[in-house]
């Protein structure tokens, strides 16, 4: 049985309510932080814990916090990224709807450490009902003196606001999120300056994922050093994984970093194996934008080592034979899945979600989608596969924000690992019998 930190009280009925949350040890970490620790000591704990951003990039949280500029007389902000727009990822939603107070407690501790007196939760538009849950929890916290002026009599003030997005994938990118939060069109900003210097309303801002901020609570509870003992190497602590696809038990699982991928997929405690006893074909390990890996490479690295659920192990081999832990959106595909169709779906998504600001992504995502559609229709040529490869290489790394990469990586990986399947679509039209389905999905083409 793996150790649980974030979801340890998940099974308790009514844990979303403040009373139950408090009865089960809630807000003790916050009290400890505000009453006995200094902001600097808190930052040290977070650094010691080795916590890395859970939104996808895996940037060390303590380091991110230490970059925050602290000019005199300028407010600082904490913004929680609850946009969770990466396809295949639904862990933040689960956390917020089940244990909203964990996020709020984490936000108070983090804001105190950062010296912020206003904090925002930016919730994606599709999670409208989640915003209601959060607002209710915030109201409860205000009523009990856990938020607002002079929290717990410590003299520290904090206000938390919930803002709902309008359903754009791009608003999960931190600077686009800030633009949207300011009431503007959600276009990513050109960096530098980074949000730590000039973020929300031009003030120093830290943008963190929901899970990252929630993880601050157990870190303060047990101490950074203790937290760092969990996990493996530089991947410390636990991680929420959103498991979906052709598995027997899809859902959100909290795992200790370092769990073997094979155990995660096949053990009864987690995914419970592939549906219908079929064979596994491929896995997208960290949300739709990370490279897809075929079974042999997701279970074992190129060197033959067992692949583990950690930033380093999944990244082993770079993009040639490895992938990324990303946001933890773990999509499993069985032997009957068409990689080409799956890629088309992803490409259609990125085309639809490109903000249109910079040329390579705006024009390239649409082009890739059209070529894939052509291949699915049975009109593709072998040249088109090379063209796809070339277009993705022209997008990757040339764009303002990572959406360009997010659109390019899946294309590159699918061609790299499943090229014969693309060739089959081109040379053997029989293999595309049920393509009609995709006309319905995409009436615009």
């Amino acid at each position: 049985m793996s150790r649980k930190l974030l979801l340890k009280n998940d099974h308790i009925p009514g844990i979303a309510a403040l009373k139950t949350y408090k009865e089960n040890g809630g807000y003790t970490a916050m009290e400890k932080a505000l009453k006995t620790m200094s902001p600097e000591a808190l930052l040290e704990e977070v650094k010691t814990s080795g916590l890395r951003g859970r939104g996808g990039a895996g940037f060390p949280t303590g380091m991110k916090w230490s970059f925050l500029a602290k000019p005199e007389g300028v407010p600082r902000y904490l913004v929680v990224n609850a946009d969770e727009s990466e396809p295949g990822t639904f862990k933040d939603r689960y956390l917020m709807e089940r244990i909203p107070h964990l996020l709020i407690e984490g936000m108070v501790i983090s804001s105190f450490s950062l010296g912020a007196n206003s904090a925002y939760i930016y919730v994606r538009g599709e999670y409208f009902y989640v915003s209601r849950i959060l607002e209710q929890a915030i109201e409860e916290a205000y009523a009990s003196g856990l938020l607002g002026k002079n929290i717990l009599g410590t003299g520290y003030d904090l206000d938390i606001y919930v803002q709902i997005g309008a359903g754009a994938y791009i608003c999960g990118e931190e600077t686009a999120l800030l633009e949207s939060l300011e009431g503007k069109r959600g276009n990513p900003r050109i960096k530098p300056p980074f949000p730590a210097i000039a973020g929300l309303y031009g003030c120093p801002t830290v943008v963190n994922n929901v899970e990252t901020i929630a993880a601050i609570v157990p870190i303060i509870e047990m101490g950074g050093a203790e937290y760092a003992k969990i996990g493996i190497g530089r991947s410390t602590g636990t991680k929420l994984i959103s498991a979906s696809g052709h598995i027997n038990k899809p859902g959100v699982y909290e795992i200790e970093m370092g769990l073997p991928v094979e155990e995660f997929i096949y053990s009864e405690e987690y995914c419970g194996g592939i549906k219908g006893g079929r064979k596994m074909k491929a896995v997208v390990a960290g949300g739709s934008s990370v490279p897809i890996l075929p079974t042999e490479l997701i279970l074992k690295t190129a060197a033959g080592e067992p692949r583990l659920m950690s930033y380093e192990s999944l990244g082993d081999g770079g993009f040639i034979t490895g992938t990324m832990l990303g946001s933890g959106g773990f999509i499993v595909m069985d032997e009957d899945t068409s990689i080409v169709k799956n890629l088309y779906t992803f490409s259609r998504f990125y085309h639809h979600e490109s903000c249109g600001q910079c040329s390579p992504c705006r024009e390239g995502t649409g082009w890739m989608e059209k070529i894939l559609h052509k291949i699915l229709e049975g009109k593709g040529t072998l040249k088109d596969i090379d063209l796809l490869w070339d277009i993705q290489s022209k997008i990757e790394g040339k764009t303002i924000c990572p959406l360009g990469e997010a659109a390019a990586w899946p294309v590159a990986a699918a061609i790299r690992h499943f090229r014969p399947e693309f060739e089959a679509y081109v040379t053997n039209p029989e293999s595309i019998k049920d393509v009609k389905h995709y006309y319905r999905l995409n009436p615009t083409v």
Partner: protein
């Protein structure tokens, strides 16, 4: 001052200068093309990605290379930085890729476009692009719309440089003009096709690098290379009154602001930008309205200069086309450059 090298050419610039500005000080081939950056407009640049360069060494202190190509127009220089533009084949390949993508949805209707001959996208494609497109699908299409009675918007030709949006934000009163929709469906628009109605709105035409925003008073009157540009001025109560007239004989076909070698509106003596008002641009179309100063200085590589230089006066345009190996209707400036023995890449 900060020292850096661009394509092995050392240059010294004040702190805070961008790589592109530093490259413009060197001039010539090493200057990356810029489609969206406009030095006279705040926060412009970074969108089109044509000015990307490779930074081989980040700075003296931190000699690591920057892993991805950077937009030179929005990246500040650092002491000891080593930048590669045309000396990096990889970078040129990346730029060619951006150019190809910029043209994916462009209608390539140069033969009927008023901008042809002074179009930055034409130059860019000519200098950095590939001979043929690999794009075989339908291009996105919009209906041309009139924004006001003087300006035409051809959204099909737009490359989303955001320059006109910044003009509307920064030099005209009131925001009247922005971007709607997303991705490759994004378009420049006024609020529900509302007319742009203020004294400086015509400047959106001057900043547009392509033929997306054109002057309706000049529409289909002439190809630019059949007009002769002269600098002129008048006393104007609204603007500096310093303009460029595009004449055919005594007839003033078009009035624009004066532009420098980078295609940007020039500065006044006091350092302000010489934007012109709509009265000067659209209504003063008689040579008597103006005090003519003399012929405008035009980059001799430009197709516009073709009819105005002694050495070329006697060479017929058709001969030039033949020598340049270019079919009718395409740019002929390669021929001119090759023919001119004094051509030392003077800007």
């Amino acid at each position: 001052m900060v020292k850096l090298t661009i394509d092995d050419i050392p240059v010294e610039v004040p702190k805070g200068t961008t790589i592109l500005q530093a490259a413009r000080l060197i001039g010539g081939d090493v200057t990356p093309p810029a489609m969206c950056y406009y030095s006279k407009l705040k926060t412009s640049g970074g969108y089109c990605r044509t000015c990307i360069v490779k930074v081989e060494q980040g700075s003296e202190k931190d000699p690591r290379p920057i892993p991805k190509p950077v937009a030179s127009c929005r990246t500040e220089v650092a002491e000891g930085m080593v930048v590669r533009n045309i000396t990096s084949p990889e970078n040129l390949e990346a730029r060619a890729g951006v150019v190809e993508l910029l043209l994916v949805n462009h209608p390539l209707d140069c033969p009927v476009c008023d901008q042809a001959g002074e179009c930055h996208l034409q130059d860019l494609a000519y200098e950095n692009g590939k001979e043929e497109t690999r794009y075989e699908f339908e291009r996105r299409e919009f209906e041309p719309i009139d924004i006001g009675d003087k300006i035409k918007l051809h959204m099909n030709r737009c490359i989303m440089c955001f320059r006109c949006v910044k003009v509307a934000d920064q030099i005209t009163d009131g925001r009247c003009h922005g971007v709607i929709n997303r991705g490759d469906a994004a378009e420049i628009s006024t609020y529900i096709e509302k007319a742009i109605d203020n004294d400086f709105s015509g400047n959106v035409i001057d900043v547009c690098p392509v033929g997306a925003l054109t002057d309706r008073t000049f529409r289909f009157k002439s190809r630019v290379w059949y007009t002769k540009p002269v600098d002129a001025h008048r006393d104007c109560s609204k603007c500096c009154g310093k303009v460029r007239l595009w004449n055919q004989g005594e007839e003033v076909l078009r009035v624009t602001a004066r532009k420098d070698q980078w295609g940007e509106v020039m500065d006044n003596e006091d350092g302000s930008t010489a934007w012109i008002c709509n009265d000067c641009r659209f209504d003063k179309k008689h040579i008597k309205d103006w005090t003519v100063e003399g012929p405008s200085e035009i980059n001799r590589h430009s197709v516009i200069s073709a009819n105005h230089y002694d050495t070329l006066r006697n060479i017929k345009a058709d001969t030039l086309r033949m020598l340049g190996g270019k079919p009718h209707g395409e740019k002929v400036d390669l021929g001119i450059g090759a023919l001119d023995p004094n051509n030392q890449h003077k800007q």
